[in-house]
């Protein structure tokens, strides 16, 4: 996919933080010599092209009350991957569910991120996911310290 200079300027604005003012696109529009409405049209096109997955606010889950989080990696039967991945994803407290290529020394290929408001809630989500999908072998990997959490700068 190719993006021209105007797209790149818009991506640079959107990957960061929009100015909190009545006309958040005005200064970028003036800088690029286009209308604010042109920027809106470009954003719609970028959404259609699949460059933008979601539009709006990103919260900090700790401050939002979801302070009990874990990465859980599951061993899944290859034949059941599709169904298991879809079922696991239904759980509202599971934010991410990825199938990954894993080496032999780490044979847990289905990765989930779980966010809960208490330790009890976290454990009950893990147990329910295991039970509902007949997943017996899994590993809970909690974070102890955050060294970096940043938004990717694509341009």
């Amino acid at each position: 996919m190719t993006y021209d200079l105007i797209d790149k300027g818009i991506i640079a604005l959107l990957q960061g933080d929009l100015p909190l003012e009545s006309h958040p696109f005005k200064s970028l529009a003036e800088q690029m010599g286009i209308r604010e409405a042109d920027i809106i049209e470009r954003i719609e096109e970028l959404q259609i092209k699949g460059a933008i997955r979601r539009w709006g606010a990103v919260l900090r889950h700790h401050q939002a009350g979801y302070r009990f989080n874990a990465m859980v990696a599951w061993k899944v039967e290859k034949a059941n991957i599709d169904e298991t991945g879809r079922n696991v994803s239904e759980c509202p407290q599971i934010s991410h569910c990825y199938l990954r290529q894993v080496p032999n020394e780490f044979p847990y290929e289905l990765f989930t991120m779980i966010h809960a408001r208490s330790e009890a809630e976290l454990l009950s989500i893990i147990e329910k996911t295991a039970r509902d999908n007949s997943l017996r072998d899994y590993i809970i990997i909690k974070s102890l310290r955050e060294f970096k959490k940043a938004s990717m700068k694509y341009v």
Partner: protein, 156 residues
């Protein structure tokens, strides 16, 4: 959790899930909520200051933009964790880096323009640190959701 009221909760859900695509998005949102634009901007400012809102913008699609990303893990002796974590943090494509409760104790994500870039950077990193890296690229994405429901209070 910061002190927020029912209207703030409504604002947070709309900001996450129904943020208007308009030249004046806050005006459109304020009209919907039947409040003034200035009140809305003040409330959002307060929730940014308290740290609840990280940012407002676009969540870009790594693959849609043609980028490649992978989850990596390394097993680092505890007395080297700070040094290695800092070394990894300085790589521009590293967006997340956590100390975790596992034999592989440092987990990070690397997002770069291509698979070749990722492989080259990881092998340079392995050589620089003299530590083997588990490289676990996504084969399939079943779900990525980054919004939190702020209006329901039910426990489980």
């Amino acid at each position: 959790m910061p002190d927020i009221d029912t209207l703030d909760r409504k604002i947070l859900n709309q900001l996450q899930n129904d943020f208007p695509l308009s030249i004046q998005p806050y005006k459109v949102m304020a009209d919907r909520l039947q409040i003034g634009e200035e009140e809305l901007l003040n409330r959002i400012t307060a929730m940014k200051t308290s740290g609840l809102i990280r940012r407002i913008g676009g969540v870009m699609d790594t693959r849609g933009l043609g980028f490649y990303s992978t989850l990596c893990a390394v097993s680092v002796p505890i007395d080297r964790v700070d040094e290695v974590a800092e070394f990894i943090n300085n790589i521009p494509g590293v967006t997340h880096n956590y100390l975790r409760d596992h034999k592989y104790n440092l987990w990070f994500t690397l997002t770069v323009p291509s698979q070749e870039d990722a492989e080259r950077q990881l092998s340079d990193l392995e050589a620089g640190l003299n530590i083997a890296i588990l490289n676990m690229p996504a084969e399939r994405i079943f779900k990525i959701r980054v919004s939190f429901d702020m209006e329901s209070h039910d426990d489980i």
